[in-house]
């Protein structure tokens, strides 16, 4: 029966799932010589080469307008590349047809600065939508949503309307929605941009906890106070080019954080 069938086109994409050894050995995400133009003479991304291993946590940083969001949009295919390749689990997602894009996104968890949750829905409904899309049975949806809400610190608050929640709680609901289908990769686009510093650290810690279960996290931010507190890999984008440091600011070449955030 279709009502109980779980549509999961790339099962090997799922974190900790039955991926073969050769698949596990490959980086989860590879960008090869990627160019993106919004104006013909001024590329937003110019020749970006990047490789992200399975289970990694990486910050993507750079000044506003540097191309952080553009890079993430290329990964969840809101935008297409103009040149180069984007390989997700070895597949070139730049070549996906429009009909295949939803199946790519089922393997990604996406979190935004503006939360993008539906205010007149309950927290439960906001999280459950990610599983309803997979045609998962309601019994399973209930248990998985409850589990996800518990993981983000909102246990027992599923029945509350999200319009009544604080900013930090709304972002937790968005994180729960991102993690509930157990995606292979989480893309967080300035998820702490609308939160105060204390809540920002809480949300970052939440993403780190998710990362410990094997989920790869790409965390875009221009908040240097967050970056300076952690030793994660740093991917900085400036004028469309990528500069990297494997262990946070300690290894950052040049004059430190100010070169990163402008």
């Amino acid at each position: 029966m279709q009502g109980t069938k779980v549509v999961r086109p790339f099962p090997f994409f799922r974190a900790g799932a039955r991926a073969s050894q050769p698949q596990l050995a490959k980086p989860i995400l590879v960008l090869e010589d990627v160019y993106k133009f919004f104006r013909p003479d001024q590329p937003t991304l110019r020749g970006v080469n990047l490789s992200v291993e399975r289970g990694e946590f990486a910050f993507i940083t750079g000044p506003s307008g540097a191309g952080k969001s553009t890079l993430l949009k290329l990964i969840y295919r809101e935008l297409g590349v103009d040149e180069g390749r984007v390989l997700f689990c070895g597949r070139d997602i730049a070549r996906l047809t429009d009909k295949s894009i939803p199946f790519l996104r089922r393997n990604l968890g996406i979190v935004f600065q503006d939360f993008r949750i539906i205010d007149h829905w309950t927290a439960y409904e906001n999280v459950a939508v990610a599983l309803e899309i997979l045609s998962m049975p309601q019994r399973l949806v209930r248990s998985r949503v409850a589990e996800a809400l518990e993981r983000v610190g909102l246990a027992g608050r599923g029945a509350e309307r999200t319009s009544n929640l604080s900013g930090g709680e709304k972002q937790r609901v968005a994180v729960a929605r991102a993690i509930v289908p157990e995606p292979a990769l989480i893309l967080a686009d300035e998820p702490t941009g609308n939160l105060d510093p204390h809540l920002a650290i809480d949300i970052l810690t939440l993403f780190e906890e998710i990362n410990t279960t094997g989920t790869t996290v790409l965390f875009a931010t221009h908040d240097h106070s967050l970056i300076s507190k952690r030793d994660h890999r740093l991917i900085s984008i400036d004028e469309g080019r990528v500069v990297e440091a494997q262990h946070g600011l300690k290894q950052w070449p040049g004059s430190g954080i100010h070169t990163l955030v402008g």
């Binding site: 009502g3 009909k99 939803p102 199946f103 996104r105 089922r106 990604l108 993008r116 539906i118 906001n126």
Partner: protein, 293 residues
């Protein structure tokens, strides 16, 4: 598309947008009511035409100098036909008397010359004789020596046919108009609903929803609007029919010999199913352009 999930989301959509949908459904119900009323008119005209067509009559006007033996022979032939149920001989005096009794034009008609009222044989056909068969009998009877003229009421039936054709064309025209109305109104209603739920669509698409998943509830909502509008119109029409048919029936029976009939079950099913189908199509068309998130 998961139908159960689509139904659940459509129910939520209908609940959230109920005011918008109530306005759309009532507007469309008026359009369906116009179509239903025209169909009701066509159905009743059709019923009357069928009834008159089946209870056919032929009048054989006899020559003034017709031999009584020829007339008697003609009667025997007529009464021997399986399609004939009754034959009545009307003399010129009886014809004059009957005319003066029925005609009420406010003028003195007693001085009309005798040749205006020829003797005739009024032939009543059995029920169910088709118009074509009636024409064929009439043309054969015209060959008899005693017959001067045959009236098979063909021109009268032709007029009725024209009237019916006109009514049917009106119904077709109205049906086309109603289809456009339904597509436009439901399309615009769904477009408004989509605009109001744009964030939901965006969230669903980012979570990996296919176009079918997003479109499903909107199509169901459009289908429901179309069905509800048609149902509302049918119920209003039925209420009108039940409250009026008692008083109209007697007059109509006296005038035409037939009674008022309501729309057939198939017409009702077609109205309801058509409403749902057009609603679904209008909705699918309007939601298509909002799916590229």
């Amino acid at each position: 598309m998961d139908v159960k999930s689509a139904i659940t989301r459509a129910r939520r959509g209908l609940r959230e947008e109920r005011r918008l949908y109530i306005v759309a459904v009532t507007s469309l119900a008026v359009a369906f009511l116009c179509l239903g009323a025209t169909l009701l008119g066509v159905t009743n005209l059709d019923a009357a035409a069928t009834r008159w067509g089946q209870s056919g009559r032929i009048t054989l006007f006899l020559k003034d100098d017709a031999d009584p033996q020829d007339i008697a022979q003609l009667r025997v032939v007529l009464e021997g036909l399986a399609d004939v149920s009754n034959v009545t001989h009307v003399t010129p005096d009886e014809a004059r008397a009957s005319f003066l009794e029925e005609a009420d034009v406010g003028a003195d008609l007693s001085s009309l010359p005798p040749e205006v009222f020829p003797a005739s044989l009024e032939v009543t056909l059995v029920r169910g004789v088709t118009r074509e068969r009636s024409e064929s009998i009439a043309s054969r009877l015209a060959q008899f020596r005693a017959v001067s003229d045959v009236e098979s009421y063909r021109s009268w039936f032709q007029k009725l046919d024209h009237l019916l054709w006109g009514a049917r064309m009106l119904a077709v025209g109205l049906a086309v108009l109603v289809v456009f109305c339904v597509v436009a109104v439901i399309g615009n209603t769904i477009r408004l609903a989509v605009a109001r739920r744009r964030q939901e669509i965006e969230v669903m698409k980012l979570c990996g929803a296919t176009n079918g998943f997003v479109r499903g509830p909107f199509v169901l909502e459009g289908m429901f609007q179309g069905f509800a509008s048609a149902l509302l119109a049918v119920l209003a029409l039925l209420a009108g029919y039940l409250s009026l048919h008692e008083s109209v029936d007697g007059t109509l029976a006296a005038l035409t010999g037939s009674r008022v009939v309501f729309l057939s079950v198939w017409t009702l099913v077609a109205l309801l199913a058509g409403g749902a189908l057009i609603g679904a199509i209008g909705s699918a068309m309007s939601v298509r352009r909002y799916l590229s998130v």
